[in-house]
């Protein structure tokens, strides 16, 4: 399952939406953090915020179009969501035009913000190319029913084949400076069934998570410890389809005792697919 809004609490079409993502032990995208606590991958929280905004836009546009990932001006990772937590998702649409949606969003757990998205832009594309509009309407009806456990709850389905976030091969690695890696999308990845049924493509959220982890490996190669604290100017310019080999390059721009900044660029067949910057800190959230 690649649906992360378990319940919609409020929906103002084309303007705002409030929803919930419950983190369960059966979630495909739960991983132990540095302290061994099972937490939901940060980029999946971002994905949930984007999906909530997408519901608001799709309803506002009567399911004729759907947003896809485009630009994220800033992702700020300020905390974590552990198994058992309910993540409150709050997405505000700044504007919707014929061809794009612009929004910002906040995810929180027990009143504390765990992730923010700012200056986010999603191109609007014809729904028919990606999903069956009727199926989307039915899914929305389910998750709008309060307490309906048949909604987008992860019911253990993902435990069978967790998504491997690593790249297939490291092409080059210069400790604490730069690295390049390649990953080929095989087409059998479970998330492709939902993202999207009529046009399977690699989600930006998973790509970003992979890049953050590759960057972390690069930074920690000398024994230092860094945690990702966000990303900025992230831009997805093309779809990555099954069979595509994605080459990612990450490069350290700044690295000191407190923080690090990396930039990344991903290409398929030499064409730009995704660019952006990733930020890290040596201090974990809440311990400063």
């Amino acid at each position: 399952m690649f649906h992360f809004v378990d319940q919609i609490l409020e929906l103002d079409p084309g303007r705002h939406a409030l929803g919930i993502k419950r983190v369960t032990s059966g979630d495909t995208f739960v991983r132990p953090n540095a302290g061994g606590v099972a937490t939901l991958l940060s980029c999946i929280i971002g994905e949930a915020l984007g999906q909530l905004g997408a519901w608001s836009v799709m309803v506002g546009k009567d399911f004729t179009v759907r947003p896809v990932a485009g630009v994220v001006g800033e992702v700020a990772i300020t905390g974590e969501a552990a198994v058992g937590d309910s993540v409150l998702l709050d997405t505000t649409i700044d504007s919707v035009t014929d061809d794009a949606v612009f929004y910002h969003a906040t995810a929180s757990v027990d009143g504390a913000t765990v992730l923010r998205l700012e200056n986010t832009l999603g191109p609007l594309l014809p729904m028919e190319q990606f999903n069956d509009p009727n199926e989307m309407r039915e899914r929305l009806a389910r998750i709008q029913q309060s307490g309906d456990s048949a909604g987008d709850l992860q019911t253990g389905e993902g435990t069978a084949a967790p998504f491997d976030l690593s790249f297939d091969e490291i092409l080059s690695f210069e400790s604490c400076k730069e690295a390049a890696a390649v990953r080929t999308l095989s087409g059998s990845e479970a998330f492709l069934k939902d993202h999207f049924p009529r046009k399977p493509v690699l989600p930006l959220s998973l790509l970003l998570e992979s890049l953050l982890q590759l960057g972390q490996k690069l930074l920690e190669d000398d024994g230092s410890l860094y945690v990702p604290t966000g990303a900025q100017k992230v831009k997805m310019s093309r779809f990555v389809e099954p069979g595509s080999s994605l080459v990612a390059k990450v490069q350290v721009i700044e690295r000191n005792a407190e923080n690090a900044l990396l930039n990344f660029r991903c290409e398929v067949d030499g064409g730009r697919v995704c660019v952006g910057e990733a930020e890290y800190s040596t201090v974990a959230w809440g311990s400063s």
């Binding site: 485009g70 035009t97 014929d98 061809d99 191109p123 100017k233 831009k235 310019s237 093309r238 730009r272």
Partner: protein
């Protein structure tokens, strides 16, 4: 106010959106051919300009305004510019070096002509009252 006034800020935004250093952005450079701008970059750029200058840039306005005063059949034929359409476009995009216009060019390739100055003109028009000023 003229485009010189807003060019520094427009240039800075273009450099940021296209991930270039400001110094590398030339006022008459082609955003597509020289700076590898793709459709997502144009969406991003328009949004950033709207935010910065507190304006609304109607989507597709350049092409719509270039067509103003010319019937569809006079402007294009089977998706390609007619001679009259080309002349009209050259006049409208007067900031674009003339050698970049090609006879019977595809209408879908019009965005490849856009330069930083094109966006300065658009911003200025919207700041001064929108499409009305564009027909002057």
């Amino acid at each position: 106010m003229n485009t010189d006034t807003i060019y520094p800020k427009v240039r800075e935004i273009i450099a940021d959106v296209l991930a270039f250093d400001v110094d590398e952005i030339q006022r008459d450079g082609s955003l597509v051919d020289d700076y590898s701008a793709e459709s997502i970059d144009f969406l991003d750029l328009v949004y950033q300009l709207e935010r910065e200058f507190k304006i609304k840039i109607p989507r597709g306005m350049i092409e719509q305004e270039a067509r103003r005063g010319v019937g569809d059949e006079d402007f294009e034929e089977h998706g390609r510019l007619t001679k009259k359409g080309l002349e009209h476009l050259k006049e409208y995009l007067s900031e674009v070096p003339k050698d970049r216009f090609t006879p019977r060019m595809q209408v879908s390739l019009i965005p490849t002509l856009f330069t930083p100055e094109t966006f300065c003109k658009i911003v200025l028009r919207e700041m001064e009252g929108g499409g009305q000023a564009a027909s002057d």
